[in-house]
């Protein structure tokens, strides 16, 4: 895994470039438009720093490019790389990894849930509630990760790991820039 500082530097560079490209094409945006451009370019910069190697990053760029107006913005932000990174006419499901795994039991086993040998009613109820909770929360997680609804369990966990690391880098860089700008503004 690359050191976080490198990831942040790359994100910052791409984000700033993307923002400058956005503003050069459209002057005088209102606050909402500018907020959208800032957020979109941050997300696209975060995804493009993965260079198409992860499912979530491809899905994020694909989702952002779906809407006609946004697609133009995404192409602006990505610049010369847009040809390579925006996948055309392919369903998002096909972008996601296809490994098959056995079952959700593996996830539960890894978290140390004890298996019951006897099928006592209260214990059976507890274990079926646990299964239901895992299933429900997995669905929620799939809705949060871009492209998650097409992933199997293992892919989902790997993608979640990478996505969380990227999100943290994104938040750190954005926060630093916001504080620095506010300090400049007050001085």
């Amino acid at each position: 895994m690359r050191p976080p500082s490198l990831l942040k530097q790359e994100f910052l560079k791409k984000w700033i470039m993307g923002l400058q490209r956005c503003s050069s094409t459209k002057k005088n945006m209102n606050i909402l438009e500018r907020k959208k451009a800032i957020k979109l370019s941050a997300d696209v910069a975060m995804a493009s720093s993965r260079n198409g190697t992860t499912c979530w990053s491809r899905a994020l760029i694909a989702n952002a490019s779906k809407d006609g107006n946004d697609k133009h913005l995404v192409e602006q932000i990505l610049g010369p790389e847009s040809e390579r990174l925006i996948v055309k006419k392919v369903s998002i499901g096909a972008l996601v990894c296809n490994k098959r795994i056995r079952s959700k039991k593996i996830l539960k086993r890894s978290c140390g849930i004890r298996r019951t040998r006897k099928c006592v009613p209260q214990v059976a109820l507890a274990s079926s509630i646990a299964k239901w909770l895992v299933r429900k929360r997995t669905q929620v997680l799939k809705s949060l990760i871009p492209g998650g609804e097409f992933m199997n369990e293992v892919c989902l966990i790997k993608e979640t790991l990478d996505y969380i690391i990227s999100l943290r880098a994104q938040v750190d860089v954005m926060r630093s820039l916001a504080s620095a700008s506010e300090q400049v503004n007050h001085s």
Binding site: R34, I38, D43, I106, L161, L167, L177
Partner: protein
Amino acid sequence: MSSRRSRQSTSGVSRISDDQIIELVSKLRQLLPEIRDRPSNTVSASKVLQETCNYIRSLHTKVDDLSERLSQLLATIDADSEQAAIVRSLIM
């Protein structure tokens, strides 16, 4: 689901070992601020998933708030100062 089993035999893809899954889940737990310090046998799978979802949602909210902050900053920045010009050229 029985259909998944029959598909698995024809897919020809290598199986994921339990150890790999355990390793992935423990890496995930390390990232989550709420549960990283608890020993692994006290945290259930559903708890890990719940904390993961909460954490991702909080990160999304932070990104949204920061975007708003930056956008408002640019709107209120004093247009004449030199520092403002620096920030403007940097951000937009």
